[in-house]
């Protein structure tokens, strides 16, 4: 018995070492940093221990802007991308010819580099001295005015960021939902038709509950992914996100570490822990709601 447990620990050793070094230690370190007041990475010293870092971050207007941006992004893109993905999946599920072709088309963004796509989006939306950009040209065509989506008003920039995010996260959701729809036993649909249910009722009463675990999975991962957004904003608005007013929480953490105002791991750690608390809360709420709505 004793020998066995020794063996077991030996087998576990590589994983424990790896997780300890790269997961547990940094996590603990973040907590430690966030409590060290006035830490300087140059001198590796600090004045005291307390919650000052948190209160500083929570009063920093850049951080508040980042929280606002992140929440807007989450609230807009998660329901929108899941909803549109569901519509597209239902469409794909209903057609026979060209299904494979459309599936490939919808999946392409997933295998494309997000930064490259972000730059393409920027060029589509940007207004320069030489051209108004493709989107603005189209707006003109339909009789609209010119809007600078990249350096213009806040709502325009938010619109581009949300549009881009929805577009980027959609392929994965479509992939998951089409396979979820395909796995519903067609006998249920036959039974529902026999029972006289119209297609709307079949969708609401049969299809939706049947694929609800997958939808729930997409919502949870969507929330978490959107809360962690950063590279999308960089691709569209450049690295100085605070100046553009389009920073996200993760972007704020990054800037605190490496940006122009960088070298402040304590503030970064505090911000990271606040993000962690937010994501944890939201996920718990999601789980509570899902107990009532999701049928396994």
């Amino acid at each position: 018995m004793k020998k066995n447990s020794l063996k077991a620990w030996l087998y576990l050793l590589p994983a424990i070492l790896f997780l300890g070094c790269f997961m547990v230690y940094p996590l603990v370190d973040v907590l430690v940093y966030s409590l060290e007041e006035g830490y300087s990475s140059a001198s590796q010293s600090y004045y005291g221990v307390g919650l000052y870092n948190f209160s500083y971050v929570l009063r920093d207007p850049y951080f508040l802007q980042a929280v606002k941006n992140t929440f807007l992004l989450v609230i807009i893109t998660v329901p929108l991308s899941t909803g549109i993905a569901l519509l597209i999946s239902l469409g794909l599920n209903a057609i026979k010819p060209l299904r494979g072709f459309f599936q490939t088309v919808y999946f392409l963004p997933y295998v494309t580099n997000t930064l490259a796509v972000g730059l393409v989006f920027m060029i589509l939306f940007k207004k320069t001295a030489y051209t108004d950009g493709l989107v603005n040209l189209m707006l003109h065509f339909f009789g609209g005015g010119t809007v600078d989506f990249i350096d213009g008003p806040y709502w325009a920039k938010m619109f581009v960021l949300c549009f881009y995010t929805v577009w980027v996260v959609m392929p994965f959701k479509i992939l998951i939902l089409t396979s979820a729809l395909a796995s519903v036993n067609p006998e249920y649909y036959s039974a529902a038709r026999m029972d006289g249910a119209n297609s709307r009722r079949i969708f609401r009463k049969i299809t939706l509950p049947m694929i609800s675990p997958m939808i729930f999975y997409l919502v949870i991962t969507g929330f978490i992914g959107a809360f962690k957004a950063y590279s999308d904003a960089v691709a569209l608005f450049g690295t100085d996100l605070n100046a553009a007013g389009m920073n996200t929480i993760v972007g704020y953490v990054y800037d605190m570490l490496y940006g122009n105002s960088g070298g402040r791991p304590s503030f970064a750690s505090a911000a990271a822990l606040i993000l962690f608390a937010i994501v944890l809360t939201i996920t718990c709420i999601n789980l509570l709601i899902s107990k009532k709505r999701v049928h396994y």
Binding site: N185, E187, Y188, A191, R193, M194, G196, S212, H295
Partner: protein, 370 residues
């Protein structure tokens, strides 16, 4: 409600581009009398389930018409036909409770048929009582046994008081004991409600035991329709004869000479009116009578005692199957001299078929050879 099928044909396009289309149901012409229990019987792939789907409206026929009573329902969608269908795998909605499952068809009613929640619940309870599952209404399908699930499926099919009830392989997912119980149950429910019921099965026992009438199908073509005993006693062709009965009928390559049926060297039975020549003879297991002076001798392999009666297993070179099975009443003094057992035959249990067409060749039972 009388169900009339007129020249019903269903063809499926072939999967490959070059292949022929598949004829699942070929020219099905049949009138099902009101209030009867009908068994559609045949081997797998014979088109019986397709026939059921055509009646239910889940599939549209290529040709032909379907009438319920005097209404032509051929072009009606399933929900307007007034049919209840019990699926082979029951297709109960797993996320709904039993009560919600049974109420589902009622919730879809529109217009003047619309019911209040209270009415629906009452109707659902009534249907549940009919199949005796009142105690399980709050459960989900996953928490019930196969037999219980099937009762729920039947209740769901009955709750709208359909004109016709259809059951697709109702017993195939149940274990042997439950199968016996459930088929009695189906019979009882059918008689209590008086709804014309059609069920599909590949199990001839099942079909024979509870049906008022059976329809034997093969490769999309109806072979024979009639009361179970009638079809058993009077098969129109070799397929029907071999498909019905356990143990199966014994088939011999035989010949007729001078009005006598000859199997091997034995002149076993007078068959007046049958011309000389080759013939296929099929003898029911119960058609053998142990008789020390009988004309038909077989090489005994073993005797299987089954309590009520005894199964004698023997061989004959001209039998198409490796063993000849005969059923005789149990007796203790069973003897076989030198491994040979002698039988005489019951004429009503012997059927002759044309070796080419496999169609029945009638003869006058009880007659004597000329």
């Amino acid at each position: 409600m009388k169900v009339v099928l007129r020249n019903l044909t269903k063809r499926f396009p072939s999967r490959s581009k070059k292949g022929d289309e598949v004829i699942a149901v070929n020219n099905f012409d049949f009138e099902i009398p009101d209030g009867k229990l009908i068994g559609l019987l045949g081997p797998s792939g014979c088109g019986k389930s397709t026939t059921l789907n055509l009646i239910s409206g889940l599939e549209a026929p290529t040709e032909g018409q379907i009438f319920f009573g005097d209404d032509d329902v051929t072009r009606l969608p399933p929900e307007n036909r007034g049919v209840g269908l019990v699926f082979q795998n029951y297709a109960l909605y797993p996320h709904l409770t039993v009560l919600e499952n049974i109420m589902f068809p009622l919730e879809n009613l529109k217009g003047k048929n619309k019911m209040s929640k209270q009415e629906m619940r009452e109707k659902a309870r009534e249907a549940a009582a009919l199949v005796q599952i009142e105690g399980l209404l709050e459960r989900r399908p996953g928490e019930m046994s196969g037999g219980q699930q099937q009762r729920v499926a039947i209740a769901r099919a009955l709750v709208k008081r359909p004109r016709v009830l259809l059951l697709d392989e109702p017993l195939s997912n149940l274990d042997a004991r439950l199968r016996l119980q459930t088929r009695e149950e189906i019979r009882r429910i059918q008689q209590e409600t008086g709804i014309t019921t059609i069920f599909v099965t590949h199990d001839q026992d099942e079909a024979m035991s509870i049906s008022d009438m059976i329809v034997v199908m093969k490769a999309g073509v109806v072979q024979q329709i009639g009361a179970p005993q009638e079809v058993y006693d009077d098969p129109v062709n070799l397929f029907v004869a071999t498909f019905l009965g356990t143990p199966p009928i014994n088939v011999f390559d035989a010949s007729v000479s001078g009005g006598m049926l000859v199997i091997g060297k034995d002149r076993v039975l007078p068959v007046p009116g049958v011309p000389d020549g080759k013939i296929t003879a099929a003898i029911r297991p119960e058609g053998f009578v142990l008789d020390g002076n009988g004309p038909f001798s077989l090489k005994l392999t073993r005797v299987e005692v089954m309590g009520r009666d005894t199964s004698v297993v023997s061989t004959h070179p001209d039998c198409r199957s490796p063993f000849v099975r005969s059923i005789i009443p149990s007796r203790k003094d069973f003897r076989a001299d030198g491994g040979v057992v002698r039988f005489s035959l019951v004429p009503e249990k012997v059927h002759l078929f044309d070796p080419e067409s496999e169609i029945r060749v009638p003869f006058e039972a009880g007659g004597t050879a000329q």
